[in-house]
Symmetry: C2
Subunit: 424 residues, 2 copies
């Protein structure tokens, strides 16, 4: 029976049971982690042959370029072609970064503050106020970047189709609103795919700020763990067709394709933006790691081959996500509170617990040795107004550990809810 | 006989000879490059076995850390230990960057502008004026970084012992003076090593600005091409002993040890600064490429082994520098103008031609198919007040090509000088 329909006595009885269960959990002295979207060791094993795929110096030459020396700031032509194939844009619309797409995102925002973007009237640091839209629940590291520059973060509600576009279209009428963070495919943490209509409305936005910027983090563009690859529209050409060619910067990396933090990243944008940023970035560095670019192109080859590799990752990830969903259905569903969606790709399950109990539930998890992403992290400034959303990241632990971790998690969710309902 | 002692008739006769020689140079249709400190292909061949030195996934584990996954923002302990060995500081005083030390330098200055440094009263972008000292001739990419943030660049003369410390000590009394660019060993382009006294005076500076910063780019710390390794003092501990622990940031990379732009870089600073920047950088990225860190540690092992490798680079570089000096001695010395110093390490020869003729000489070089670093580049804003200094970068072309390039160069130097002396 749902907790919400139980008598006080029945709740108290349930509390005693769950409290005892929690004590038993603690006695296991667990040390488990579901905090971050880190691939598990068996995923890393799958791709470890990348280490040996490029050992012959004769293969360092690509399009007449010696990848061993300085040069080609925007990346080797073969690496740009690889990303154009994956993202569905043109090679000239790509710029290869280092090992971290987050770092290029930071550098774009940092450049907007210091120098201004291509269509800026002035650098953002000279604006009185800069506001940035944060569809929430969302990715804490995105929000932190704009927060670190002093931007005012504005929460935009998420729907099953992506950010609430009615809200977005209204907010962009304010010229102080300079941009928005987006994860269009398997959004972090909701795991939803922006609908075709949502993407079209993004491309056709008419923001008041001439330098309004969509930060389109396509982190999970080929990251299905269930079912076949789902194609996604090329946001660069959609924005171009809508007369907003410079409005979007798309990002991706191989961090969850090969080795996290040791792969290659990319920024895709209009050719005008790529030229503008190639010029800005030329002050910062001579060129990125072309050896690693070549190694990755040799290993991943193209989109089709990358998708085949992602099927192997899926074999590892799918049972983990199934475990999470099964546990939630078995343990939480009967309690009559809590919402979640079963995603088919990405790295997270977004779970909404009884409002006002998320922080407490995760404190209990911590007490029982299970580390989760802090409650609130999925909202601007780390503050979830409902204290309800929790991001579950099941990729790191092996399935057996994950089962234990989810058992603790469900126990803590129930215990925190019971405490609240019983005013304990 | 020196040009400066020749009669007008003798100069005219020499002009006719050199002019004819220049025409002959042009007829060769050369396409040679002495513009940048790029290692030559044979140097890259020496180190290309690095590609195959790390292929076994079992070797990915270091100090219990799986280098294939996210984590360890400051770098793997073995990589920090490697740099501490090379630089003579403590591992805790190091922070591993990506493939480019220039990028970490940029990021430090950028952080100073956006957030302020550890001892800043306010971010530099909130200061009315920021002044930065640029010992000149110096490295154009250094100067460009501070210029891009709108700093006022102040030229400090170079002496045979390093920057003129009398001038530096005077200038740092101005609280608007926030820092100085330094290349302490084989300075770019002069190739001189800062004297012990100069280094001590740097460590003991008493700047008015609490956040005055020495950008200590130790780019050529192990880069002798003639003679044995010359030890250098650890600037971090010197500053600490002088009561200025946070005043210096040291930088280095393997760009001229293994592959340019595909190696590992490091920032060394006080533990307080490392903690401060680890916190700031955690907003920008999760971790740098630990696989490449491990690959480099496996390949380079330690300082002693690195120095042995540098001897191999020296075998390639020494004949190139000898060629440059020989040509200058043969062609320019008799002309009675022009100064240069024969360096024993680094990547450049700094040449001062007849004042007022450097730009013209390099325009002539370009006409004859030899690309050089633009005249003026070694001074703030790209403007050499004497129009005299030229940076020669002999590392890229093979010796045979270099001989041709230097022949063209000397011809153009003479022709430009003759034009000036004859008022042509």
């Amino acid at each position: 029976m749902s907790y919400l329909e139980k008598t006080k006595e029945a709740l108290q009885a349930e509390y005693d049971v769950v409290k005892a269960k929690f004590a038993a959990c603690k006695d296991q002295n667990l040390k488990l982690n579901m905090a971050r979207g880190k691939p598990g060791a068996s995923q890393l094993d799958i791709v470890s042959d990348i280490l040996g795929c490029f050992v012959d110096p004769a293969e360092c030459f690509s399009d007449g370029i010696d990848a061993r020396n300085y040069g080609e700031l925007a990346g080797l032509p073969v690496a740009r072609a690889y990303w154009a194939d994956v993202l569905g844009c043109k090679p000239e619309q790509t710029f290869l970064g280092g090992t971290s797409s987050l770092k290029i995102m930071f550098d774009v925002i940092s450049a907007a503050y210091t120098y201004g973007l291509r269509n800026s009237v002035r650098p953002w640091c000279k604006e009185e106020v800069v506001k940035f839209l944060c569809p929430s629940p969302g990715y804490d590291r995105h929000f932190k970047i704009t927060e670190s520059f002093g931007a005012e973060l504005i929460t935009v509600p998420m729907t099953a189709d992506g950010p609430d576009m009615n809200v977005v279209e209204e907010l962009v009428k304010d010229p102080q609103v300079k941009g928005i963070w987006c994860v269009p495919k398997y959004s972090n943490p909701d795991g939803i795919i922006y609908s075709e209509d949502t993407v079209a409305r993004f491309a056709n936005l008419k923001p008041a700020a001439p330098d309004f910027t969509i930060m389109w983090d396509n982190a999970y563009c080929v990251h299905e763990f269930e079912g076949d690859f789902i194609p996604f529209p090329d946001i660069i050409s959609l924005c171009e067709k809508a007369g907003n060619p410079d409005m979007v910067f798309e990002f991706a990396s191989t961090s969850k394709i090969t080795f996290p933090g040791a792969g290659i990243s990319v920024m895709a944008a209009s050719e005008g933006n790529i030229a503008y940023f190639t010029d800005l970035f030329s002050v910062q560095m001579i060129s990125h790691d072309k050896i690693n670019q070549l190694r990755h192109v040799k290993y991943l080859k193209d989109k089709a081959n990358t998708l085949a590799l992602m099927k192997k990752h899926a074999e590892v990830l799918a049972p983990k996500f199934r475990m999470v969903i099964d546990m939630l259905e078995k343990e939480i569903l009967p309690c009559g509170f809590g919402q979640w969606v079963s995603p088919k790709g990405g790295y997270f399950v977004s779970f909404n617990t009884l409002p006002g109990t998320a922080k407490r539930a995760l404190a209990l998890c911590k007490e029982a040795g299970v580390v989760m992403t802090p409650a609130g992290a999925t909202f601007p400034y780390g503050k979830d107004p409902k204290d309800s959303n929790i991001r579950i990241a099941p990729s790191l632990p092996p399935v057996a550990e994950l089962e234990k971790a989810m058992d603790v998690f469900c126990t803590c969710i129930k215990l925190a809810a019971l405490e609240k309902l019983l005013n304990i």
